[in-house]
């Protein structure tokens, strides 16, 4: 027993040691993920692995004291000369102390010190990076931390208890890990609740901290070369996530997230001819307005844009943008309605007025173009007679602007192929090469060609760079817009300030919202995207305003429900009628509240009965007793002096039909009770059925 206990103690210590190493390695990976401390975190990981595998029992000594003294000198050098900053040099110091402790892990105090150091390292890592991967590291760290703290507490308590008592379970057993996991989950649930309730002193702003690498997205600067958009279409990096809230259903609507618009084409690149910009009006709550006209706010489609860091100040949204909410210093607009924000927050809300104009309305419009409009939007710097002839040929036979536009669009869709490779890269006139030679290209070529052809036809049009709607995530109800969704299309003017989007590119349409089957909603990528969205939206940028919004929403919902109920019950003539109205309004809740306890009670009863039944058939005393009870009800009582075998014979004489069952049960009782016989599954089933038969005797 003594040696077994010693083994137990050693096994416990080894388990704790392994736990500490896992914790250190996790914090090392977290520091690595922060993308700021590659060297030091790599050293920590390598040394941890070496220490664990090659140094079974770390020993301290004077060497470590010397190393500690030397490192102290290095710390100041690191602070004042190498990193020139306190924070990273402190993290380096933590790493050194952790390595020191790993080789000097003797008593409980050492373990607690390592726990503290790994915690501080995780704190540093999570302050340096806010990517979604850091959330996974935090969760893993929390689970390991809980395991370590709980295990060392249990081992300490066990050491103080009865010395003859062995440790009752393994620290790596599934059950124990199940308890740890459950504790971690409960902790996170409480943490989320506390997180959402905690009052915010600031508005969830990072305080100037760099959230990660900035992506380069070309095509949204003041001048874009033909082909700029194609270069980012090969990249599947995420650009932004957009959640759309609409007062009316938008079934079948395809979103185009408008970015930059250009009106001047010089044969190779697009730009905006006029440098005129205007600043948007800003109110007291960081809302920017684009139009002075009264627009019913309830008719606007709200788009919550969560943007990854990109090197462009363009604000994206569905046309026509009416209002903008965001932490911008200022927002400007040019003549082509391109919005540029100063400040570049990661989140902003765009409110758009989506007006669907039917082809019939567009067809019936009689448009007169002012001269200044024609100067910009029908301008062709370098005329090409061949393209002009093509434009005339395509649009022959119609005077209607809409029909002529559609003719051009159909022509391009039918006669040209979409590709992102083997592009018509001509030094001189890429559009001509596309239209007459290659006859294939990507969206920029299609859109540019359309705009040029329409201008030759005298129809004002412009080019727009932006993004297609992206992939819809049903779990989180948001669109994931990637660089590969970058797109170019045309806008055509129909008078009275109405610009209509036309997209001539025969590009594959991305699955729109609501079209995915149930199981396709739970693909790993969508699940991870949802988690990432939740992390960004509800943790990283959760602000006091969000808290107010939640409270207001709950309050408004409550008031609305109350108001409706009061209105209906006011009309009721009697209290019975009033209760009937309450029932009609809330019958689901009432049914659930009333039935749920009943269902629970019945389920519990059923389970207890089932459990009791199982116990009866497994226990020889119980099943024999149950048999006696049943026979007692039939008038057959076993005398105390009678043996079970004698009683069975009596039953056979009195109830011959039951004699067989009773004899068999008696036989099983003898064997199980006195003969150490273990009842098989068949025996149990037989007993159950025999007892049922006795009921029907």
């Amino acid at each position: 027993m003594k040696s077994a206990l010693a083994l137990d103690r050693n096994a416990m210590r080894a388990s704790l040691r392994l736990g500490v190493y896992l914790l250190v390695i996790t914090s090392g990976f977290a520091l690595l993920l922060s993308q700021k401390l590659y060297v030091s975190s790599s050293i920590l990981l390598v040394v941890s692995a070496v220490a664990f595998f090659f140094v079974p029992r770390p020993r301290g000594g004077p060497l470590w004291e010397v190393a500690s003294f030397l490192y102290l000198l290095f710390f100041f050098a690191d602070w004042f000369w190498i990193t020139k900053s306190l924070a990273p040099s402190l993290v380096h110091l933590f790493i050194f102390i952790m390595i020191n402790k790993l080789f000097n892990l003797e008593n409980d105090r050492d373990y607690y010190q390592i726990y503290l150091l790994t915690f501080l390292s995780m704190l540093a890592a999570s302050s340096l990076s806010v990517e979604i991967e850091m959330l996974y590291m935090i969760i893993l760290f929390v689970l390991l931390f809980v395991w370590n703290i709980m295990s060392i507490t249990l081992v300490k308590i066990w050491s103080k208890s009865d010395p003859a008592e062995p440790f009752p379970f393994s620290l790596f057993s599934a059950r124990y890990w199940g308890i740890i996991g459950f504790t971690g989950v409960v902790m996170i649930i409480f943490a989320l609740g506390i997180f959402f309730i905690l009052p915010r002193a600031q508005l969830g702003y990072f305080g100037g901290m760099k959230p990660g690498q900035t992506q380069h997205v070309s095509g949204f600067s003041q001048k874009v070369q033909l082909g700029d958009i194609a270069s980012i279409q090969e990249n599947t990096g995420e650009v932004m996530r957009i959640r759309v809230t609409s007062p009316q259903p938008l079934t079948g609507h395809r979103f185009y997230w408008r970015g930059s618009s250009f009106d001047r084409y010089d044969g190779r690149s697009w730009s905006t001819a006029s440098h005129l910009t205007s600043m948007l009006f800003q109110d007291a709550v960081s809302s920017f307005y684009l139009t002075g006209a009264d627009v019913d706010p309830n008719s606007l489609v709200k788009q919550e844009v969560y943007s990854k860091p990109i090197d462009s100040r363009v604000i994206f949204g569905q046309d026509r943008i009416v209002k903008l909410d965001g932490n911008f210093f200022a927002v400007s607009k040019n003549v082509n309605n391109t919005l540029l924000g100063m400040g570049n927050p990661e989140h902003y809300d765009v409110y758009s007025q989506i007006t669907t104009v039917s082809p019939g309305d567009l067809r019936s419009r009689r448009v007169a173009y002012p001269e200044n409009l024609k100067r910009y939007y029908t301008r062709i710097d370098v005329r090409n007679p061949r393209i002009e002839a093509l434009a005339n040929e395509i649009t022959r036979g119609s005077l209607n602007v809409y029909d002529r536009t559609m003719m051009v669009q159909h022509y391009l869709e039918k006669n040209y192929r979409y590709t992102t490779t083997n592009l018509p890269m001509s030094e001189v006139d890429p559009v001509s090469t596309f239209l007459f030679s290659k006859k294939m290209g990507h969206c920029e070529y299609f859109a540019t060609s359309m705009v040029i052809l329409l201008r030759y036809a005298g129809i004002p049009s412009r080019l727009v760079n932006g993004f297609l709607e992206g992939e819809y995530n049903e779990l989180g109800s948001f669109y994931v817009v990637r660089q590969s969704d970058a797109h170019t299309w045309a806008e055509v003017y129909f008078g009275n300030g109405l610009w209509v989007t036309f997209d001539p590119s025969p590009r594959d349409v991305v699955a729109s919202a609501g079209s995915a089957s149930f199981w396709k909603m739970f693909t790993p990528r969508k699940v991870l995207d949802s988690i990432s969205f939740f992390w960004d939206r509800y943790i990283l940028i959760f602000s006091a305003q969000d808290q107010l919004d939640i409270l207001s929403s709950v309050r408004d919902q409550y008031r609305e429900t109350n108001r409706k109920l009061r209105e209906k019950t006011r009309q009721a003539s009697s209290s019975t009628a009033r209760w009937r109205i309450v029932w009609e309004q809330h019958r689901r809740i009432i049914l659930f509240a009333g039935l749920a306890p009943l269902v629970f009670y019945l389920a519990n009863l059923f389970w207890k009965k089932r459990k009791w039944k199982l116990e009866v058939v497994r226990s020889p005393i119980l099943f024999y007793h149950q048999m006696l009870l049943r026979l007692q009800k039939k008038g057959l009582v076993k005398a105390p002096v009678a043996t079970p075998a004698e009683f069975a014979e009596l039953v056979s004489r009195t109830f011959p039909s039951a004699g067989g069952d009773v004899s068999s049960i008696t036989d099983l009782f003898y064997r199980a009770r006195f003969g150490n016989y273990k009842l098989s599954r068949e025996d149990q089933e037989f007993i159950e059925s025999a007892l049922l038969r006795l009921d029907t005797l």
Partner: protein, 359 residues
């Protein structure tokens, strides 16, 4: 005026690790509020969540537990003893882990016992060491079950009311030969009568019904007939032992030593079946019949002198009277002729070796 805070049935005490954890949480919370950094808010929330879970789990560990403790009937001061502790877990499914039974009642000695694992619907028992440093009556009013589980940040305590009284008898010393000789000086005399003492009176012929243990084999062999030993009758003098060691201010170490001295002598006399009377103001005890009344009295008596109490005087003229006094305190008892005085200061240096006695 002493402020008395309400004592809750379940209380919490911080451990060192818990204090560090809480301070760290507050620091991170302050940093979060200061910077508005939501990641810090999240970490702060996780730490608070950990504290909440810790509280809930430790409370659950202590729920459904019922401790009981049984003390032996007799305790001697300075002698380690054990008590029997049992803890029952009435919970249906949840075991209790890391439970510590402890008595921290100020009016009682401290007792502690750890139980690592108490299965559901089961109980666990064990012995716990008990040591009373001083004689007296100790009342147990409260006992506790504590746990550090799950994270050892806090010590969760659940208090249980108790109502037990334990009498602690004075310390018993082994009496040296010097003390014994001095005390028993003049106590015994020879007797011509038959009796049951250990002193041999004479040998006589064997008679039927005599016990074979009394046969003197050597003499029988010599005489070639069976001879049986006959013993003297007890013919000791009566011993009256007066306690006259009363201090002005109590408690006093010299009084305690004197009480232990008296108890040790009483044990010696009982073991050697010496008839003696121990006389205290208002009380007389004869340990030969039963030592319990004397021990109980010595456990409960506070050592004070009760004025006007009658003292029993020796009934025969040849009785031996001893009076235990202290040079530090004046004698309170009336003089009894022929009394020999013993001063505790002369003998206390010989009271070194404690002995464990069984009653």
């Amino acid at each position: 005026m002493k402020l008395r805070l309400p004592r809750f049935a379940i209380a919490v005490e911080f451990t060192r690790e818990g204090m560090i954890f809480v301070l760290l949480s507050l620091a991170i919370g302050a940093a979060a509020v200061n910077t508005g950094n939501n990641v810090l808010y999240f970490i702060f929330s996780l730490m608070l969540g950990m504290i909440v879970v810790s509280g809930m789990t430790s409370r659950r560990m202590l729920q459904g537990l019922q401790p009981t403790v049984q003390f032996p009937d007799h305790f001697f001061s300075g002698v380690p003893n054990v008590c029997y502790v049992s803890v029952e877990n009435k919970k249906k499914r949840i075991p209790s882990v890391g439970i510590r039974f402890i008595i921290r009642d100020p009016g009682f000695t401290s007792v502690a016992r750890h139980f690592f694992y108490i299965p559901p619907r089961d109980h666990i028992s064990g012995y716990a060491r008990v040591l009373f440093a001083h004689r007296g009556v100790s009342h147990l009013r409260e006992m506790e079950l504590q746990t550090h589980v799950p994270f050892a940040f806090f010590l969760k305590i659940r208090r249980y009311f108790a109502n037990k009284t334990v009498r602690v008898y004075p310390r018993i010393y082994r009496l040296s030969e010097e003390i014994v000789t001095n005390i028993s000086e003049g106590l015994f005399r020879e007797s011509p009568y038959r009796g049951e003492s250990h002193q041999l009176l004479h040998l006589r012929d064997y008679m039927p019904m005599d016990s074979s243990k009394r046969i003197h084999w050597k003499a029988s062999a010599k005489a070639e007939k069976i001879l049986v030993k006959e013993y003297q009758k007890e013919q000791g003098r009566d011993l009256y032992f007066y306690f006259d060691c009363f201090a002005e201010k109590l408690p006093d170490d010299r009084v305690e030593t004197a009480i232990s001295f008296v108890a040790s002598i009483a044990f010696f006399f009982k073991e050697h079946e010496i008839d003696a009377r121990f006389i205290f103001p208002g009380n007389t005890f004869q340990p030969k019949e039963s030592i319990h009344p004397l021990l109980i009295y010595l456990a409960e008596w506070d050592g004070s002198y009760a004025e006007g109490e009658i003292l029993e005087k020796p009934s025969t003229t040849d009785a031996v009277a001893l009076q235990l006094c202290s040079r530090a305190f004046p004698s309170r008892l009336p003089a009894v002729s022929g009394t020999r005085t013993l001063f505790i200061e002369d003998w206390q240096h010989l009271l070194v070796e404690e002995r464990v006695v069984q009653i």
